[in-house]
């Protein structure tokens, strides 16, 4: 090699072939193995949770599970009834949350992406959105409890479906704003300029051009937000509370309401086998629904990527 003082260890002597005994190659394999083991560790809990929920919950699925009401412990040691009202309750509370957070969130996202020019107000809103998404969900429950449940501000109602929905909407709001903001930013500026250039107003440009082109990413984000809210428990335990009855009249929106997640929480901690079993059954229903929603969102996202190409 060169005659200068620059010297290399005589690895260059080797004739290019792969030498498994080299420290470097042993380390390579070791690191790869460790990373592989870590990946296995990461998916192990998912596999375990899915298996148990499938076996312990799935085995109890029958028609009466969906039509009966849950029973408080002590009445009947063999059966804890069904989860019919909890399924409906989760649907109602999540819908209320979505109905509140989607229009506000899309409006806020539209403001951030289309109107704001990077001033202090929009900076504050962006920061606030970040902070809000970091607020622990239990605190949303505590706050809604203090503002709505204890004051009876909603027609004198205390624990109610609406209070639960409001608590969930606080958690969904930042996600909806962020996905709308980011979705709209993906829309090419040329499209915006084109619409402006033919004399479309801001309103028409946004509602007819940019929002529709950003439909799939926004829909994906909203779907994920709904899926997350539907599984939330902490905001509901002091707001929607729980109920052993059907919520089937309009006034039941102002009454405590059952939900799958709170049912799981309450019944998991009961010392009675039948109630524990019902918690597993409820987990099966909840988890299947959420996984379907997530896979749907994933499919939507892939579809939108294909569309862009």
């Amino acid at each position: 090699m060169t005659k200068s003082s620059i010297q290399y260890k005589p690895t260059t002597k080797s004739k290019l072939y792969f030498d498994a005994k080299l420290t470097r190659n042993i380390l390579e394999i070791a690191y790869t193995l460790i990373a592989g083991i870590f990946s296995l560790l990461a998916i192990l809990p998912l596999v375990s949770v899915l298996t148990y929920v499938l076996i312990k919950g799935g085995s109890q699925i029958n028609f009466s599970l969906f039509t009966q009401l849950p029973e408080p412990p002590g009445d009947d040691f063999l059966s804890a009834g069904g989860i019919g009202n909890a399924i409906i309750g989760t649907f109602i509370v999540t819908s209320i949350g979505a109905l509140i957070s989607i229009p506000i969130g899309i409006g806020g996202g539209v403001f951030l992406a289309e109107y704001s020019k990077g001033g202090n107000f929009s900076k504050f809103i962006r920061f606030g959105t970040n902070v809000l998404s970091g607020v622990p969900s239990i605190i949303a429950g505590v706050v809604v409890y203090s503002i709505i449940v204890t004051t009876g501000i909603l027609f004198g109602a205390s624990f109610s479906a609406i209070a639960g929905g409001i608590a969930l909407s606080i958690l969904m709001l930042p996600t909806v704003i962020k996905t709308t903001d980011e979705g709209l930013k993906l829309v090419s500026n040329e499209l915006r300029k084109g619409a402006m250039a033919i004399g479309a107003s801001r309103f028409v440009t946004i509602t007819r051009i940019t929002l529709p082109s950003a439909f799939t990413p926004i829909a994906t984000g909203i779907l994920l937000a709904i899926a997350r809210a539907a599984g939330e428990t902490a905001p509901l335990i002091f707001t929607g509370l729980f109920s052993f009855y059907w919520s089937n009249t309009p006034t039941s929106l102002l009454e405590p309401i059952a939900s799958l997640s709170v049912l799981i929480y309450n019944f998991a901690l009961e010392p009675y086998e039948a109630q524990n079993q019902l918690a597993w059954a409820a987990s099966f229903v909840l988890l299947t629904t959420l996984l379907i929603l997530n896979i749907l969102a994933r499919y939507l996202r892939r579809y939108s990527i294909l569309e862009k190409r």
């Binding site: 620059i6 290399y8 260890k9 690895t11 072939y17 792969f18 030498d19 470097r24």
Partner: protein
């Protein structure tokens, strides 16, 4: 560990491509290349875009391994050793055949570390400060860098960054340096500096350079390989690259044997 050695190794030949065909999935990029790259010389690879010259260059130090569906048929011999033999360690190949890329790509580290990192992983045990200085001098960026060795490689201009990348490659003391259009992202003055650097380097290294710039090929290279691409009869419409002509640069530019070479060079200059 049975790596075939050819009995008739020509000490003047560094790289020999024997019937090399490279494809991306089903799509064939270049086919049936035969070529012998002389040792200690600068060889330019020229041709229209899409003719596969970069693909050929990247196959020589097995950079194409990083592309998932890229496959190679035929043999590439480096001093008689088949680089695509299953027992070959691609890491070792890249330590002996370095590469400078189209876009300057310094590491997000200090200038000093950019040089030292490569030397260290190649097991360099000498004086690191000396090596850094020497490599930067050889790559003709020492003057611009000497006062800010601790600063990020990104604090340099594009042309300086590219010479830093050359210095980084020199520091690992490869036997061959592959350059993939090293000046295409640079301004004329930086280009000129890089070409001067190459003149200094060709005393110590075998250099292969892909370039779009005919004048550059003429200025820096001793040998030139002209590639072209054509639609295959019966193919699916994609263009397939092939080697048209390989000769000394003088011959390629003054009296090419093939009509296609003549037309291409005539068109580029005319």
């Amino acid at each position: 560990m049975n790596i075939k050695k050819l009995s008739n190794i020509d000490p003047k030949i560094s790289i020999a491509l024997e019937n090399v065909t490279i494809s991306y999935g089903k799509f064939i990029a270049v086919r049936n290349i035969y070529c012998k790259i002389p040792k200690g010389k600068v060889t330019a690879l020229i041709g229209p875009s899409g003719c596969g010259k970069s693909t050929v260059l990247r196959s020589i130090n097995r950079m194409n391994d990083l592309i998932e569906n890229c496959s190679l048929k035929g043999r590439i011999l480096f001093e008689g050793t088949d680089l695509y033999h299953p027992n070959i360690d691609p890491v070792e190949v890249r330590r002996r055949i370095g590469m400078v890329f189209q876009q300057p790509n310094p590491f997000p580290k200090s200038i000093y570390e950019n040089i030292a990192f490569g030397a260290r992983i190649n097991g360099y045990v000498g004086d690191m400060d000396e090596l850094v200085e020497k490599s930067l001098k050889q790559a003709a960026v020492w003057d611009e860098c000497k006062d800010k060795l601790k600063e990020s490689g990104y604090s340099l201009s594009g042309g300086q960054q590219q010479r830093l990348c050359i210095a980084r490659t020199i520091a690992t003391q490869p036997e061959i340096i592959l350059m993939d259009e090293p000046c295409s992202a640079l301004d004329p003055i930086s280009t000129l500096k890089i070409e001067e650097t190459m003149h200094n380097l060709k005393k110590r290294f075998t250099i292969l350079i892909v370039t779009h710039n005919m004048q550059q090929a003429l200025r820096v290279s001793d040998f030139t390989a002209f590639f072209n691409a054509e639609k295959e009869a019966g193919g699916d419409g994609g263009k397939v690259g092939y080697l048209v002509e390989f000769n000394t640069t003088k011959k390629i530019f003054n009296s090419p044997l093939q009509k296609a070479t003549k037309e291409y060079i005539g068109g580029k200059f005319g």
